[in-house]
Amino acid sequence: MAKHNAETQAELYTSAQKALIEAAIFITDKPQTLDYLQQHFSLSRKQLKAIIKALQQDYQHRGIELVEVASGFRFQARAQFSHDLAVLFEEKAPKYSRALLETLALVAYKQPITRGEIEDIRGVAVSSHIMKTLLERDWLKILGHKEVPGRPALYGTTKAFLDYFNLSSLEQLPELKTLNMEQKFSLAMENVTDN
């Protein structure tokens, strides 16, 4: 570690405090928020942020890394090892159908959205099974109800969804290929009778 780093550190926190926060993030199953850590350990926001930053640097060249996802900070194995590490897992990671992924993508990008609106865009009915799976995985939640006849549920994505996809916010989702709605329909009348 660079020398100047050690110097600034000395003013902000002790190495014991840093080690404690490190251990705290490591042993918890779920990502830890700064709020939560601040609440349980007598450290200032500034100290915590400095510790997190230092830890991220410490693990820069290791097999695991400290990342921030939607619900906080967590350690995870580097993605580059995922292929090699797959041998350790007997069970294959679940695969998701196109129907499920399209439904999930629609909610992620167009939330709040009703099931009817999803069906309109996809052009097919959304099976109850898919909605159930998405709700049970805690990737979707019902945000409220649309004030139209039938009061259909409005769906949105959860923090668990972002955590699962390693995102810290919805803004981190890959940009949608924008619909060029201004594009003129150069619909030259084709010779229909030709066919």
């Binding site: 995922s82 990008y109 052009g123 619909l179 619909l187 229909v192």
Partner: protein
């Protein structure tokens, strides 16, 4: 379109395949019954492919992309023709055909027929009949791609693994004590005093009466014994154990009260021996 039309079409497709009949009469007179000719995939493999379509929009997109056509210049007649071929094939293969596919067939046929009609108005703002379908196809394609991208994002279980770190052996779980409000305490006291009141009330009335009553009963027993020329009654004979602890206490209190008032006497002739009770004889003993 309903499953009824689906069945009707199914039947017609099977029965009148070779006839130049009217199986598609219900879609604006468009009768396409010939085998698909411009399919790029052998029919055997088709079944697998078809099952992978996520609905009519997906199928249309596939047809458009397959021939490197632009959605914007949607050649409706050509696409309709191909779409119908696929629908027919799906029916032939007895794939469960979702109603949405038939709805789309109707939409395509309608657009086609509108395009066929001579243009009566030449106003510029008249919308192309294909516009709505093109918009839907574009919208769907965006989502289709977004879903594919989403599937490629590194995700837990498949690409990312969180760490498992345990506690050292000396770890012990602690519990947070429950919170108590001062009003909880006051309410507890109120409840307690209310109960006390009820209890005391019952206690005083019941106890005094029953002790008095028991004193009379004990005296009666001793008098009866004395009249039967048995001046002494054994202490234990005065208790009815069926009455339980309370009864024993009341009887004992009654005896003490009687002794105190010098109405009866207790005699114990030897250490640890039986206690005998007798009516007080005012020193006449």
């Amino acid at each position: 379109m309903t499953t009824d039309t689906n069945n009707t079409m199914n039947k017609k497709m099977q029965g009148e395949m070779q006839q130049q009949a009217l199986p598609f009469a219900f879609i604006h007179g468009e009768g396409i019954v010939e085998k698909p000719q411009d399919l790029f995939i052998p029919p055997d493999a088709l079944e697998v492919i078809l099952e992978n379509f996520e609905g009519p929009l997906d199928l249309l997109l596939y047809l458009i992309r397959k021939q490197k056509l632009d959605i914007i210049d949607l050649p409706i007649a050509q696409i309709t023709q191909q779409y119908m071929n696929y629908i027919e094939l799906m029916t032939d293969l007895k794939l469960a055909l979702a109603a949405e596919y038939l709805v789309m067939a109707a939409i395509l046929a309608e657009i086609k027929s509108r395009l066929l009609l001579p243009k009566l108005k030449t106003e510029d703002d008249e919308e192309d009949p294909r516009a709505e379908l093109v918009r839907r196809l574009q919208e769907y394609e965006v989502i289709k791609q977004a879903a594919q991208t989403l599937d490629q994002i590194p995700r837990l279980e498949r690409d990312l693994h969180t760490v498992n770190v345990l506690f050292a052996d000396n770890f012990t779980q602690t519990t947070t004590p429950p919170e108590v409000d001062l009003s909880d305490l006051v309410n507890a006291l109120k409840g307690l005093l209310k109960r006390c009141e009820a209890f005391e009330h019952h206690h005083i009335q019941g106890e005094v009466l029953s002790t008095r009553e028991r004193m009379t009963k004990v005296l009666e027993q001793l008098t009866a014994a004395s009249q039967a020329k048995q001046p002494f009654v054994e202490f234990s004979c005065l208790f009815d154990f069926k009455e339980g602890k309370a009864g024993v206490v009341v009887t004992f209190l009654a005896i003490l009260e009687l002794v105190k008032e010098s109405l009866i006497e207790c005699i114990q002739s030897e250490v640890l021996g039986q206690i005998q009770l007798t009516l007080s004889t005012q020193g006449d003993y």
